[in-house]
Symmetry: D3
Subunit: 135 residues, 6 copies
């Protein structure tokens, strides 16, 4: 049960259609998943979010696509976004994540959460060795 | 200002010494960072946490060491652990993270947090296309 | 599927009835939404929560009712409370939130989450200019 | 202690200088606060973040500037960003937030967090009355 | 560096003095810790917060005082409140928490965070066996 | 809708069967709840998680079983894990949690969240009185 309703014929809006067409072209797929359909009630939100996703996730860069997807998945797990856990688990599998790698990501997320809370509980002082040095 | 005080001579405790020795041997470094020193007040906590860190992070696996470190860093940022942000930024640099990759990790974390909250705000229904199928 | 079950005839309990009657009178509506029905298993919890909601949200103050509702909605999104996202999206619409304003709230929440995580990731030092000065 | 170091002469980089100049012009102030100086190590991050802040926060819209700032502050409190709590408390004061309004924002944030956790603890079912209806 | 400044002579305000006197009488101690001094800028916030703390934490009830304090500490760790981790670690020690119990609390918090994230990552369906039954 | 699918005959895997048998023996019950069935796709994850749960939660220690369960429940509420809120509410009831105690836990969680956010919003300085002293 969503908190906004997508318009009946979303793509009759030319700004929406332009974004959806670019999503299809970029992903080489006709499938537009729900997050894009539901955010389209605000064209500016749709255009800016897609521009950012395309720039950060769909443009060749110094991190490979699977690594980027696994980081996205890890954040989505910690933020407890049900939709995003599903969409990014699926995206990671589509980019080659194996079952063993899936298990590894979960173990890193769990371990990190564990030591994050431990450090905060103990208020551990930061080691001076971690400090960056001016060149 | 921590919430527990490390004992004056931590390594006079043989269980603590054994863990610290294994940390040094595994990392090929004499440096024991503070988190280990502060959790040593509970030997069981120290032994189990190191065992898990060694197994998940310091054992060759299907994800490369830098990818694992970047996932750990991303989780630490979202959980807002000051100590961990410092220790895992340093660890990622030590494993080869470039400044450009650092910027990329931040951009993925920021984008993921953004779409996580958007999906939750809109209560977007999960697409049936994401569902796993029995073989 | 809830973790407590409301009693069959909640309002046969005079403490529950008194609170429900005051909710109806304050809101000028017969509708008692579920959160009140489910917390009624603990009369003290019910009485104190309603007293606080009435004082903070339903009493004229220096912030107008819609502004207060939008802040409530923003917090509910970040805390990822499905029930609250629904109830406070509906309450904000009832208090006049337009579709454009809904989109704006989402964009502020998303931007704030983004710069919050960036600041924490960079451990940006607080500018002395932000410090309060004694008169 | 930050996790990146700003370059000695940041504004010798023309992309950085262009953003800083636009911040100064938009805010009609010479003051560039630290978050901008520390994120400048990645010009793309700087340009995109400023573009988004300018669009969402510094452009006249259907929500007044103080309301937008209070929502930003509320999110920063929940996300526990020390830097952002300081910068947005200061920004809200600069936009006219009174001490009484500051107290009100805190009371709404605290109440919302409280009922958010209560709803999640009880797994309260969403009332069908909150559902959006097709026109 | 706080975001509000306590008045120079807080207790010249009779509403503040009345709360501080009740804190001293309830705790049988002259010490007023900082959280009360800083929230006193809004007397209503001070009065309501103390009323709730006194009712929930300082009134004999079906949970013993140490158990209540350990739950408070656990929540403060997860919410990453530096001040609260300090004040509630100290309060728990004052109520008899041993070093071994401190270690146990940390291990439960860490384990819970771990399985919380695992369940969310796997989107594990709730077992019907957990459902409450009408009598 | 989960993100992994349990194998059809989970216990034909001897590592999985060994863990399930130990869960049954430890809990003196034939019931294996879903979290164990879904994490079994990664035997190492299953073995390590059960080993930790058994050690922390099912071994006699200096905190009684109900206190430990209530701490676990409180963390699960704050982390907003739907599955865990259900499983640990049920486990707490099985260990003797009364309805009144359930209400108390909720009130402590809500109060703690409230003062956690207040402290962070005010950036309250830590009292030197909370500092640990060397013996």
């Amino acid at each position: 049960m969503p908190t906004v309703l997508p318009a009946a014929d979303l793509e009759s809006n030319p700004r929406v259609k332009a974004v959806f067409d670019d999503i299809r072209a970029t992903r080489k797929s006709d499938f537009i998943n729900n997050i894009w359909r539901y955010m389209a009630f605000d064209e500016d939100l749709l255009e800016r979010t897609w521009d950012e996703v395309k720039s950060v996730m769909a443009t060749p860069s110094e991190l490979d696509p699977l690594t980027k997807e696994l980081i996205y998945l890890a954040v989505s797990i910690i933020n407890n976004c049900e939709y995003c856990v599903h969409s990014h688990s699926a995206a990671a599998r589509a980019k080659g994540m194996t079952t063993a790698q899936h298990g590894e990501v979960l173990k890193i997320v769990m371990l990190a959460a564990k030591t994050n809370h431990l450090s905060n509980a103990l208020q551990v002082p930061v080691d001076p060795e971690f400090m960056l040095k001016e060149d």
